[in-house]
């Protein structure tokens, strides 16, 4: 099993959700995060003082999938989240050791 972790622009969430739905992925976790890569931050000005805002708001989307589905999910996220401008984000794929459905106690692939 794999855990796909994607950092995306907040405005792309709905597109990503729809793209994953059409792949038969029906669960995900979304967290509000801050970060920067090559986009750097921007500067703001408050009461006459300019200051740099280094971190930009992003969303972290996490999906647990079968090994076979991991590539398709990554591609779908990339297509949906891409805008072509700096700051689109990154996708990480991690090995997932175990999964449990809390309600029923099912484990492994049945719990995905």
């Amino acid at each position: 099993m794999k855990l796909v972790v994607a950092i995306i622009k907040p405005s792309r969430l709905e597109e990503v959700r729809q793209a994953l739905n059409s792949l038969d992925v029906h669960g995900m976790t979304v967290t509000e995060v801050k970060g920067y890569g090559r986009q750097k931050g921007h500067s703001e000005i408050y009461r006459g003082t300019e200051y740099a805002v280094h971190f930009l708001p992003k969303l972290k989307v996490e999906i647990a999938v079968d090994d076979a589905l991991a590539d398709a999910v990554s591609t779908a996220i990339r297509d949906a989240a891409q805008t072509g401008r700096i700051g689109d984000g990154k996708i990480f794929v991690l090995d997932l050791l175990a999964v449990t459905r809390i309600r029923t106690g099912e484990t492994g692939a049945a719990a995905l």
Binding site: E44, I45, Y46, R47, G48, T49, Y51
Partner: protein
């Protein structure tokens, strides 16, 4: 409209006849001529003295409601300018500070400010005593019908005292302990504010000997709060992390712009009472016209300040800083407060606009000196207050620049020095600041025990 006068004359004639017929009931002490004059005066439109008295008192009661509501304005403004972790503390400070001010003014301040004939030192130090209102069910014979009720006068004036104190709370926000702050407020509202106010509004030496004019308190209220705030900011020091050793500034943005803006509008609204009811009379045609003029000019000053701040920040910073526009409107209000009656609407707007400019230019100046004023109260109330006091001479021929300057300096030195001493004593005894750790945690958690936004972690 010709049909209007005939019934009025008939009514007047009937009243006159009734009065003459009732004369025997008055006994031999009521000459017929006086009765005729009284009736003619009423029929002619002049307000009877008792009605004037009632209207004057009513104006000050309504004014009192409006200035009281400014306490909500300050509270919301400050709540919006501080960080979420310090909001409950700011709310608490405003409620308790207002309450301390009212009690201090009742027990000590009112008599010091309005000693009447009972000065301890003529023109300088007023009387000792608690405020005493009229007994229940005042009769016209027992009243001084030339002015207004003591109760309405006290009710109106106590709000001004609380306003002066509330100016301080915004400047020293986010790094001051509650009880030392309240002790300072007690000193400010029991002694400092009333004594300097007596020099002008109590008929003291600034009024009698220097012809100082301050309609609603650019100096007497606003600069007093500003001087006390300045002394406090200097003694207290800046918020942790605001200034770096090399002099650069780390902005600490406010948490809630809607609240800050609401606070500004509430203050603006209350200012119609603050200035309008300072006419202290509305029983005559002239007085009520003046009240309206004052209110219209008050509004004009605010809009001038707001727009001037907006344009100036756009020019200097390319973006229009909302917090500066909020400060600008308030500075415009302070600027016309010393003389909201004599200018025309255009002049009032310009005077307010200068106040807005002063604020935008002086906020970075304070940062240069590492004076951390969280809400901009020093530029708005002290600097614009001084400007407003000087601006009186431009529109009021009875004012003289010398008298205005004497007042500015005298009040300034008096308030600043005593405030400085009070702050220093409190710092040396009780301590003013929370620990660095508590300041990091936020005063809501460390001092109040009630978080303003507990779900937002």
């Amino acid at each position: 409209m010709t049909g209007f006068k005939t019934p009025l004359r008939i009514a007047g004639g009937v009243a006159l006849a009734a009065l003459l017929l009732a004369l025997p009931a008055f006994g031999q002490d009521a000459p017929a001529e006086e009765a005729v004059e009284a009736v003619e005066a009423v029929v002619g439109g002049e307000t009877p003295l008792q009605t004037q008295y009632i209207l004057n008192s009513f104006l000050m009661l309504v004014g009192g409601f409006l200035v009281f509501w400014m306490a909500a304005g300050f509270t919301m403004l400050e709540a919006g300018f501080v960080r979420t972790k310090n909001v409950s503390m700011q709310l608490l400070k405003n409620i308790t500070m207002y309450s301390v001010a009212c009690i201090a003014y009742y027990i000590i301040g009112y008599a010091l400010m309005y000693p009447g004939d009972g000065w301890m030192i003529e023109g300088i130090l007023g009387a000792v005593g608690i405020a005493v209102l009229e007994p229940v069910g005042l009769s016209p014979e027992a009243a001084d019908l030339t002015y207004a009720t003591v109760s309405s006068d006290f009710f109106f004036q106590v709000m001004f005292c609380a306003t002066a104190a509330s100016i301080v709370s915004g400047t020293v926000a986010e790094r001051i302990k509650l009880w030392p702050f309240l002790i300072f407020v007690a000193v400010l509202t029991a002694f400092v504010y009333p004594i300097q106010a007596s020099w002008k509004w109590g008929g003291g030496f600034l009024d009698a000997n220097f012809g100082f004019l301050d309609f609603a308190g650019s100096t007497v209220v606003h600069s007093v709060g500003g001087w006390a705030a300045l002394a406090g900011a200097i003694v207290l020091g800046a918020r942790k992390g605001k200034y770096n050793a090399d002099g650069s500034v780390n902005p600490i943005p406010g948490s809630n712009m809607p609240l800050a803006t609401l606070g500004m509008f509430i203050l603006w609204f209350g200012w119609y009472g603050f200035n309008g009811a300072s006419q202290l009379a509305m029983g005559t045609v002239g007085d009520i016209a003046d009240v309206g003029r004052v209110m219209a000019n008050t509004n004009a000053g605010a809009v001038g300040g707001a727009l001037a701040a907006a344009v100036l920040t756009a020019i200097i910073y390319k973006k229009v800083d909302l917090t500066f526009v909020i400060n600008g409107a308030l500075a415009g209000l302070v600027s016309v407060t010393a003389e909201p009656l004599t200018p025309g609407l255009g002049t009032a707007s310009i005077i307010g606009a200068v106040g807005g400019v002063i604020v935008v230019l002086s906020v970075p100046l304070l940062d240069r000196f590492k004076i951390d004023d969280v809400v901009g109260a020093i530029p708005v109330h002290l600097f614009a207050g001084i400007w407003g006091t000087i601006a009186v001479v431009f529109t009021n021929p009875d004012a003289n620049l010398g008298g205005q300057l004497v007042a500015i300096v005298t009040v300034g030195v008096f308030v600043f020095v005593i405030s400085l001493v009070a702050w220093l004593i409190l710092k040396a005894t009780l301590g003013l600041r929370p620990t660095a750790e508590d300041e990091d945690l936020g005063l809501d958690v460390s001092e109040v025990g009630v978080e303003a936004y507990p779900e937002f972690k």
